[in-house]
């Protein structure tokens, strides 16, 4: 697993453990993972605060809102200090009073948390738990195939599942011919259907089909995907439909995975709006004909709508059809054509807090396959530096000089630094 995923899943584990009695003895086995998960949540909360003058007030907020146990608060801060995310911890009578924060704006928060988790030498159980959660974040899996598919230790599996299920990190559906395990962070309408799908189509096909949806949230579903058609038909997958230019209704399947369980319950309308956005945009991408949206432009459309100084899309002959679902969901208003005498509609974003959140969730799902904004608040954090491509042209003249170059590394470095315009003037 990559460090990024490890950091992410530590936070999932922490989110799951919120459901467990904090005095449970079993939790001690997951202490490091839980600590890094808490550290991730707290880091996202304090980023940009610069100086935290009243750490005890923060302690209360963290306990209330993030389930950062108040007795673990100082330990979490120590962990953040080890990573370099906070500095200057001042304590009085054993309580933290003041500190400053350096949580990165641009660098990858989760990769650094993942590395910190590794540095703490997590126990075997913790490693297995993170692997398990990561595996189940991809697709539900039959229990008897879990060990081999996720690379888990068969002997340790019963303990692992006992802890995972008590923490509600793993859900189980019992079947006559074996159980199926899945993650409760999926937005399934009717998880029991998973068992039927496994039975009817086989676990491999299920995993493959789910991976396809995670790979492209808002995947257009057709006859070539019988399992997904079946899953939609039985109410497992959410798949809003949009009218294609030929008048047929096209479903677009999504598989939201979110830590914010309220989005799966009380605030479900927000999630449904996000999926409506995905469906409308994917329709423009796959069925837009000559003026189809390039894949890279989907996020641009969302950004245009989110831009408070713009908030509309230029009129197009297909907009009334393509964005009807977002219009019905209350995300868009259809204004008159911008051109005098024109009869196209101008989709205008209805700027409310819920609508804004829905667009951001849709953007996360397009970009990352799952919601990140609720965890970090800034998807730009994942951007990697795109430096120059490897140079492939033959360098024959340099090859000839290779054996006799009497230049030290230091001398080379000096010349190259000057050539690249770095550092001292020599």
């Amino acid at each position: 697993m990559e460090r990024f995923d490890e950091g992410l899943r530590c936070q999932d584990v922490h989110a799951g453990l919120r459901n467990v009695d904090p005095n449970s003895g079993g939790l001690t086995k997951l202490a490091d993972t839980q600590l890094i998960g808490m550290a991730g949540s707290l880091a996202a909360l304090i980023r940009g605060q610069e100086v935290i003058d009243d750490a005890q007030a923060l302690r209360a907020v963290a306990a209330e809102q993030l389930d950062v146990n108040q007795y673990a608060f100082d330990q979490v801060l120590d962990a953040l200090a080890e990573i370099g995310f906070v500095e200057g911890l001042q304590r009085s009578s054993g309580k933290t009073t003041r500190f400053t924060e350096n949580v990165p704006y641009y660098d990858d928060l989760y990769a650094r948390l993942g590395a910190a988790w590794r540095d703490r030498r997590p126990s075997e159980l913790e490693e297995q738990m993170v692997l398990l959660v990561d595996h189940l974040s991809d697709a539900p899996t039959p229990a008897d195939e879990l060990a081999s598919e996720a690379g888990l230790d068969t002997a340790a599996l019963p303990d692992l599942l006992a802890v995972g299920e008590s923490a509600e990190l793993v859900k189980r559906i019992q079947l006559p011919d074996g159980d199926v395990l899945y993650s409760p962070f999926f937005g399934f309408e009717n998880p029991e259907v998973i068992a039927e799908l496994v039975r009817d189509h086989g676990p491999d096909q299920l995993a493959e089909a789910f991976a396809a949806v995670r790979g492209e949230q808002g995947l257009p579903i057709g006859d070539a995907q019988p399992l997904l058609q079946d899953a939609i038909g039985r109410g497992l997958l959410l798949a809003p439909a949009v009218e294609r230019p030929d008048g047929t209704l096209q479903p677009f399947a999504s598989l939201p995975y979110t830590l914010d369980r309220e989005l799966l319950r009380g605030r479900k309308p927000v999630l449904e709006k996000a999926l409506a956005v995905l469906a409308c945009l994917r329709c423009g991408q796959h069925f837009g004909g000559a003026t189809s949206l390039p894949a890279a432009a989907l996020v641009d459309v969302i950004d245009k709508l989110l831009d408070p100084n713009r908030g509309f899309l230029r009129p197009h002959g297909s907009h009334a059809r393509q964005y009807r679902l977002m219009h019905s969901a209350g995300l868009l208003a259809f204004d008159a054509d911008l051109l005098p005498g024109g009869n196209w509609v101008t989709p205008r974003f209805i700027d409310t807090e819920d609508n804004r959140e829905a667009l951001k969730i849709a953007r996360d799902l397009i970009t990352h396959g799952e919601q990140l904004s609720g965890r970090v608040g800034d998807e730009d954090a994942r951007k990697a530096l795109a430096l120059g491509q490897p140079f492939t042209a033959p360098m024959q003249t340099m090859n000839r000089t290779r054996a006799k170059a009497p230049v030290s590394v230091k001398q080379w470095q000096s010349v190259i630094d000057s050539a690249l315009g770095r550092g001292r003037v020599r």
Binding site: G88, Y106, D107, A393, P394, M395, G423
Partner: protein, 381 residues
């Protein structure tokens, strides 16, 4: 440096502080060492090349003021101070030239006594304010400040003897620190601004092993470098705001290499070098990546400055003050002792810059701890 002039300099510094600037005394401007010129005779060539390789002084700025305007634009003011009145008319033209050379937004000429009528007539045409010592005081009264500028320790900045001590601090340092001292005194001011973010780190790296945090003069030097570095990054942020406020990564890369064309050119060169390295013609240990290894930290720091641009000027002032206090062998026990200067975000920002320099240049960690203690009031561990 004339002690008589120094009185006018600190008075001008106080005026600039009242006007909302952060300041620096005696900024030296000089050429870089010239290459040897070809000449006809060998003996003559040797003699001339020795002379021509020594940097020549252009001039110096008595007082430099830097401030940040509402839309985050750095503005500068220069002050020329002389106790004599002689030649003040022709000096006005000189000041105009220096102001243009330095791209200063405002220029002042301060004299101990009355200026000639001719000099005063030139003020509007040349865009220079001409003031006598008494008029500096009068102008100060027109700029009330909430800071306790007349109460120590803040008043140390505006006391002649204290200023002389601080200026002298950097003269008697270890000779091995000379490259850094020369850089902070001369090269920094003449180098293209976009080169300084990397050059200052390299200059500090080169002398890191000779810097001892227990030596207050060394600490003052590092704090002074932090002032320079924050100023440098503020220029970078000014550029980011103008061109790439939503894409600081690209904006910072373009800035560091002098614009999009410069970046593209260096990217091409970097790829070429990478190819050469892959072919085995360069040792594995040679770093041919375009960006320095500390670029992610630099980007984070720049983004922090971009995010809280309002803290730049207070942070610069805190660093200016902390440098002086440290050079005087004093320390501030509590933030309340700073005469109203303390601001927690600004102090954090100033400490961030010191921390960045310590981390990237490989300075002793004691510098970070002492700076945080001085700026944020954290106890020394």
């Amino acid at each position: 440096m004339s002690e008589l002039d120094l009185g006018l300099k600190v008075a001008s510094r106080r005026l600039l502080w009242r006007m909302g600037y952060t300041t620096r005394l005696d900024v030296q401007l000089r050429s870089v060492g010239a290459a040897e010129r070809p000449t006809a005779g060998a003996a003559g060539a040797a003699g001339r090349s020795r002379r021509s390789s020594v940097p020549e002084a252009f001039t110096d700025l008595d007082v430099l003021g830097i401030t940040v305007t509402g839309g985050f634009r750095l503005q500068s003011a220069i002050v020329d101070c002389k106790t004599t009145v002689k030649g003040s008319t022709s000096r006005m033209f000189w000041v105009r030239g220096v102001a243009d050379f330095f791209a200063a937004d405002a220029a002042y000429m301060v004299r101990e006594k009355d200026l000639s009528n001719a000099a005063r007539q030139l003020t509007s045409r040349l865009g220079i304010a001409a003031l006598t010592s008494a008029e500096v005081t009068r102008l100060e009264e027109l700029h009330p400040s909430h800071l306790a500028l007349d109460a120590e320790p803040l008043a140390w900045l505006f006391q002649r003897d204290k200023a002389a001590t601080v200026l002298g601090t950097f003269n008697g340092l270890d000779k091995r620190l000379k490259p850094l001292l020369e850089y902070r005194e001369f090269t920094y001011w003449l180098a293209e601004e976009h080169r300084n973010p990397m050059q200052l780190v390299d200059e500090l790296t080169a002398v890191a092993r000779y810097l001892d945090p227990r030596n207050p003069h060394h600490l003052a030097l590092v704090l002074d470098c932090a002032w320079l570095y924050l100023l440098t990054l503020s220029h970078a942020v000014e550029s980011l705001r103008a061109a790439h406020v939503a894409d600081p990564d690209r904006g910072l890369q373009e800035y560091l290499f002098g614009g999009p064309a410069g970046l593209s050119e260096k990217q091409g060169l970097s790829r070429l070098l990478e190819g050469i390295k892959q072919s085995g013609a360069l040792p594995d240990g040679v770093h041919v990546d375009l960006l320095p290894s500390y670029f992610p930290r630099l980007r984070e720091l720049a983004i922090r400055i971009l995010t809280r641009a309002d803290s730049v000027l207070p942070a610069l002032r805190l660093l200016e003050f902390a440098t002086s206090v440290t050079a005087l062998g004093q320390r501030i026990e509590k933030p309340e002792d700073m005469g109203g200067l303390y601001d927690d975000v600004a102090a954090k920002r100033a400490a961030d810059v010191v921390g960045f320099l310590v981390g990237t240049a490989g300075l002793d960690n004691g510098f970070r701890a002492r700076a945080r203690s001085l700026l944020l009031g954290e106890p020394m561990t």
